[in-house]
């Protein structure tokens, strides 16, 4: 393969906004913004963009102006850079606290006033097995007027902890950002490091990683469908998909020794070996799973009381999806045909076409359809990948090495960006992980207003975002 074209453009702080605007006008899509500790006063600023497999890294020695009016998707990125690195952004008003939990409530919520408006605060401790997140709804009656999110209860400072570590250690930090997207996070990190070192994967390595990524997507999407059924109290669906998810996870355990596939991705190679008999056994298990998934999916399609709940709820408009930088199933449900897998020369996807529902409405029905329709496609892909036995493999040199590496990987929740800066002796100077969940949380907060409060669990589950990998 030929590695992605990488351009690093160093810009003066005063030219930052102009460069970003020019990049956007050139068709570059925003992928993430972060701060990096610099020797001088204040942190340096980085922003990543992508365009048809090309990568652009804008680097400024210091932060000065906001770009949030040009790229609304950068809102959380700037707030995080401010809270964690002290970067200031002129024009980002008010710059609400995001990671900083010491800020008093009025400093991170949007004031909502009027007759009969009241707040409903949910979390961070929930009644079910749900991660820590605080939701503050401003409602009139059952109607939500505004939603303020407060995440980062699981902020472990993983990025900072990875600094100064050898890449093999830093890989663990990136991977364990979350349990359910561990493979996507780990592949993104591995790709970023290999990108910086000028390594390219062999076809076998690409196949091994694609296999792991799709196994992860399979069990995640089965879990999502189960959760969506739970959100409307449809127990037969919940149980059917939970059972299928369990089977998918047992396949993971047979193949890699870990139900969540943890520890299965390495930097610069892969230890995954599948013999011909093991591959054929796995293929028949997958075929069985595919047939039963199809059956459960059909039953869900014909459950009128469930479908009734899906329509017209949690609608994400196409324009909003584009403007706010939605990714993954949520974006595709809105009709935005984006999928990092279509643009992944380091993985074995070949000619994957992003699945967009026939009637992209962005309502809860659409993300459900994106997942349901994606399941057989994913299993077919796995079947194809298992057509030949797999040997352990190593990445080979294919380009010049440099300090910065960028990678984009489609996790089950959307496009995940991993950026690394490698220092002397192969240690990690800076690691930044911007997961699909991170990109989509603000989109969720935008979608909820106007809906009924009791429909929130359903809308939330149609996004099914991860807290831990946004918090890091």
């Amino acid at each position: 393969m030929t590695p992605e074209r990488f351009t690093r453009r160093d810009v003066a702080p005063a030219a930052w906004r102009g460069e970003v605007a020019a990049a956007l006008a050139d068709g570059w899509r925003f992928a993430g913004l972060w701060a990096e500790a610099a020797g001088g006063d204040g942190p340096a600023l980085r922003a990543a963009f992508h365009r048809h497999g090309e990568r652009l890294l804008l680097a400024a020695p210091a932060a000065r102006d906001t770009i949030v009016d040009l790229v609304p998707a950068a809102g959380w990125d700037e707030r995080e850079a401010h809270d964690l690195h002290g970067a200031a952004f002129a024009g980002h008003e008010p710059l609400r606290a995001l990671v900083d939990h010491d800020a008093p409530t009025p400093q991170w919520t949007v004031p909502v006033e009027g007759r009969d408006v009241f707040q409903v605060a949910v979390g961070p401790t929930h009644a079910g097995v749900i991660e820590s997140g605080h939701f503050r709804f401003h409602v009139v009656g059952e109607r939500v007027l505004h939603l303020d999110l407060r995440l980062f209860y699981k902020h472990r400072g993983l990025e900072r902890a990875a600094e100064g570590r050898p890449v093999t250690d830093a890989l663990r930090h990136a991977e364990r950002a979350c349990g359910a997207d561990a493979v996507a996070n780990a592949i993104a990190f591995a790709h970023a490091v290999e990108d910086a070192r000028g390594l390219v994967p062999t076809p076998d390595l690409a196949r091994a990683r694609t296999l792991l990524a799709e196994l992860e997507r399979l069990y995640n999407h089965l879990n999502d469908l189960s959760a969506i059924c739970a959100g409307v109290g449809f127990a037969p669906g919940t149980m059917a998909f939970a059972g299928l998810k369990e089977r998918a996870m047992r396949l993971n355990a047979t193949l890699t020794g870990h139900r969540f596939l943890h520890g299965s991705v390495r930097v610069g190679g892969s230890g995954l070996a599948i013999s011909a008999p093991a591959a054929s056994e796995l293929r028949s298990a997958l075929a069985e799973l595919r047939a039963e998934t199809r059956r459960a999916w059909r039953e869900l399609q014909f459950a009128g009381s469930v479908q009734d709940r899906f329509d017209g709820v949690g609608v994400l408009a196409l324009e909003d999806a584009r403007r706010l930088g939605a990714v993954g199933p949520a974006a595709r449900a809105a009709g935005l045909a984006i999928d990092a897998r279509t643009d992944a020369p380091r993985l074995a996807y070949r000619e994957l076409v992003p699945a967009v529902p026939e009637q992209p409405g962005g309502a809860v029905a659409a993300p459900v359809e994106v997942r349901g329709a994606g399941l057989p496609v994913g299993v077919d892909l796995l079947d194809e990948l298992l057509a030949a036995p797999l040997e352990p493999s190593v990445a080979e040199p294919g380009g010049a090495s440099r300090r910065d590496g960028l990678a984009l990987v489609e996790s089950p929740r959307g496009q995940t960006l991993c950026a690394v800066a490698l220092g002397d002796g192969g240690v990690v100077d800076r690691l930044h992980l911007r997961t699909g969940s991170y990109a989509n949380w603000p989109v969720l907060a935008h979608v909820v207003p106007g809906n009924l409060l009791p429909d929130f669990p359903l809308i939330n589950k149609s996004f099914e975002l991860c807290y831990a990998c946004a918090d890091r």
Partner: protein, 307 residues
């Protein structure tokens, strides 16, 4: 007082003990239908025993209103159990057997719990209570209507008379009785807080109706409220069986038929809860409006038949 009346009174009181078993049976059947082994039908008794042994905690600030609510709810449902006859008979407990009194007693329980929710000032409790009261506007009206239509053959709202008049097959010749039966089934689901109106098994605070006001309660107070919820379901099941179920034979035969009918109704509840997702909250009034329309149609048909 005849021996059968005493026996009927004993059965009414026994309802208080058997009620959790009915709720547990629905839970077990639901689990089986979903492909899970599920808990034993006796699980609600274990829950009650566990809660009864626990010390209680109360939110601060809360007042007498919050403390009295569980007792009031229990008292209301207990009186309700005494109002509903068993196998067409019931001793005179001094509260009569009027269907409208029963509606009032159920409303009293609802009112007490809504006041308690207000007293805690907890967002979830208040939200649940507000939804419950909103539904009640429709549910209580439809319940009264359904009972009135069911009372047409007897010409009285006395439940013993209604039960007696509903015996035999002749009463089903009039469409009014069918309308009353279906409308009662719809409104009973809402009254008992079962799916598709409410989901008694949910942990999602934002979607709760009947469970919301219970969130703050603990220990014995919670045990009382859980028992009351089970007894409310039991009461509605017995009432449905009395007014619309099959009858025949002597007292003991009829009591046996009643038990069978309640068991069948439990299975019916489990089936609908499995087959149907919970409906959108704002659709519940529409759902109950269907019941009201049926009642009005039933009344119209009765008047047309009488004219």
């Amino acid at each position: 007082m005849s021996a059968t009346t005493v026996a009927a009174g004993a059965l009414q009181v026994a309802g208080a003990l058997v009620a959790p078993l009915a709720a547990g049976t629905v839970q077990t059947l639901k689990a089986r239908l979903q492909g899970r082994p599920g808990p034993s039908p006796l699980q609600p008794y274990r829950e009650l025993r566990r809660l009864w042994r626990k010390s209680g905690v109360r939110p601060v600030p809360s007042t007498l209103v919050y403390r009295l609510a569980p007792a009031l709810v229990v008292a209301a449902v207990a009186v309700g159990l005494l109002i509903v006859p068993v196998a067409g008979r019931a001793p005179d407990w001094g509260v009569g057997h009027d269907a409208l009194v029963l509606v009032g007693v159920l409303a009293l329980g609802r009112f007490a719990i809504a006041l308690a929710a207000w007293d805690t000032a907890s967002g979830f409790a208040l939200m649940g209570a507000a939804r419950d009261l909103t539904f009640a506007v429709f549910a209580e009206a439809v319940l009264v209507l359904a009972l009135l239509v069911a009372a047409l053959p007897a010409g009285s709202t006395d439940l013993t008379a209604m039960s007696a008049a509903a015996a035999g097959t002749a009463v089903w010749d009039d469409p009014a009785h069918w309308c009353a039966a279906i409308a009662f089934a719809l409104v009973a689901i809402a009254e008992a807080g079962r799916q598709p109106v409410d989901n008694p098994d949910t942990h999602l605070e934002l979607t709760m109706v009947h469970e919301g006001p219970l969130l703050e309660y603990a220990g014995r107070e919670l045990a009382c409220l859980q028992w009351a919820a089970a007894a409310r379901l039991w009461l509605l099941l017995v009432l449905a069986a009395e007014l619309f179920g099959p009858k025949g034979g002597g007292f003991w035969a009829q009591a046996a038929i009643l038990a069978g009918t309640v068991a069948v109704l439990c299975a019916g509840v489990a089936l609908t809860e499995t087959a149907l997702a919970k409906m959108r909250v704002l659709r519940v009034p529409l759902f109950l409006g269907g019941g009201a329309a049926l009642c009005l149609a039933g009344m119209g048909s009765w008047l047309a038949g009488a004219a």
